[in-house]
């Protein structure tokens, strides 16, 4: 997990920039195409950035650790899974835009299984249903969506179980 004092994020960014430098040496056209694509991504994601900022502020204002632990902590039960899957389905934008908010919620005691279920349920993209129906049909779209909704909590539980199973002091994975 990233903390405010951690420099891991900056090291990662520098490593990616070095990769760009290498790709420029290999193929300047592709490197420039990548930068153009990055620029279009940034423009497209500005509204999501604003949304995430507002959600973070609202979460800081309204959500208290005790409350989060009650609704999405270890004792949250079915309600926690329902909230995680539903919010995963309605969340918009790319997956990585949600990492800051999830990082905050994880710090406040949100269950890892619920985090995983939230991320899995994001595969149900309601606004993109017309395209999915156009390519694969209505029946396929409905069954695929239902299968993902059923799989999300199961995958969350399995993630959590594996994390517990491999949690030992000698493990190199923290």
């Amino acid at each position: 997990m990233v903390s405010e004092k951690s420099y891991a994020g900056w090291y990662f960014l520098v490593a990616v920039l070095v990769l760009y430098l290498l790709s420029y040496l290999l193929s300047p056209e592709n490197a420039f195409a990548a930068l153009e694509f990055f620029y279009s991504l940034i423009l497209k994601l500005i509204p999501i950035f604003v949304l995430v900022f507002l959600l973070l502020a609202l979460a800081n204002y309204y959500i208290k650790p005790k409350m989060l632990a009650e609704h999405m902590g270890h004792g949250s039960g079915l309600k926690g899974w329902f909230i995680a899957v539903t919010s995963g389905i309605i969340s918009t934008g790319p997956i990585y835009m949600w990492y800051p908010l999830l990082n905050e919620m994880q710090k406040h005691g949100m269950r890892n299984g619920l985090l995983a279920a939230f991320l899995y349920a994001r595969a149900v993209k309601v606004p993109l249903f017309p395209i999915l129906i156009l390519y694969f049909g209505l029946t396929y779209t409905i069954i695929l969506s239902l299968a993902i909704i059923i799989a999300a909590p199961l995958q969350g539980l399995l993630t959590e179980k594996l994390m517990e199973l491999f949690k030992n002091e000698n493990s190199s994975i923290k």
Binding site: M1, V2, E4, A8, G9, F12, L13, A15, V16, L17, Y20, S23, A33, A34, L35, F37, F38, L41, I42, F49, V52, F53, L54, L56, A57, N60, P94, Y96, M97, Y99, P100, L102, N103, E104, Q106, L115, A116, L119, Y120, R122, A123, K125, L128, I131, Y135, F136, T139, I143, L144, A147, I148, A151, L154, Q155, T159, L162, M163, K167, S171, I173
Partner: protein, 141 residues
């Protein structure tokens, strides 16, 4: 008191975003780099014809590539036209959204290495299980 609390919430939100900004920028730069260096024709050229083996290849491809899910629907449609099994195409569509190898460094920095590792492994396995379930049910429909 209330205004102070709102101000504090906004400052905390800004600080949280600032802390994660290099990770988000890095992830976006990586996705852009992968999109421009990997040609779309790569997708159809790697399948074998065996539907189970193809599903594993498709889930692997979906895990590596990133971008708008609509792109995966379009590529999935092209794969179906190219004669690739629905089992493989479904595994590709599901893993595209649920598994993120390119986003893995960002996910492990922000949510923990162990979480990112096990979440991605299980999401990969579930993309094949979900594909099997969907194709079985749609086939029996």
């Amino acid at each position: 008191m209330e205004t102070e609390l709102i101000k504090l919430s906004l400052i905390k939100a800004g600080r949280a975003l600032w802390t994660t900004l290099p990770v988000l920028l890095g992830a976006m730069l990586l996705i852009a780099l992968a999109s421009s260096f990997i040609s779309k024709s790569v997708y159809a050229s790697v399948f074998s014809g065996d539907s189970f083996f193809d599903a594993i290849i498709a889930a692997t491809l979906g895990s590596i590539f990133a971008g708008n899910p609509a792109t995966s629907y379009i590529i999935g449609g092209e794969l179906v036209d190219a004669g690739i099994s629905m089992f493989a195409v479904t595994a590709f569509l599901v893993s595209w959204v649920t598994v993120g190898i390119i986003q893995f460094p960002a996910e492990s920095i922000l949510l923990g290495k162990r979480f990112a590792l096990f979440r991605n492994i299980t999401a990969f396995l579930f993309s094949i299980l979900v594909a099997f379930a969907v194709v079985s049910v749609v086939g029996a429909w």
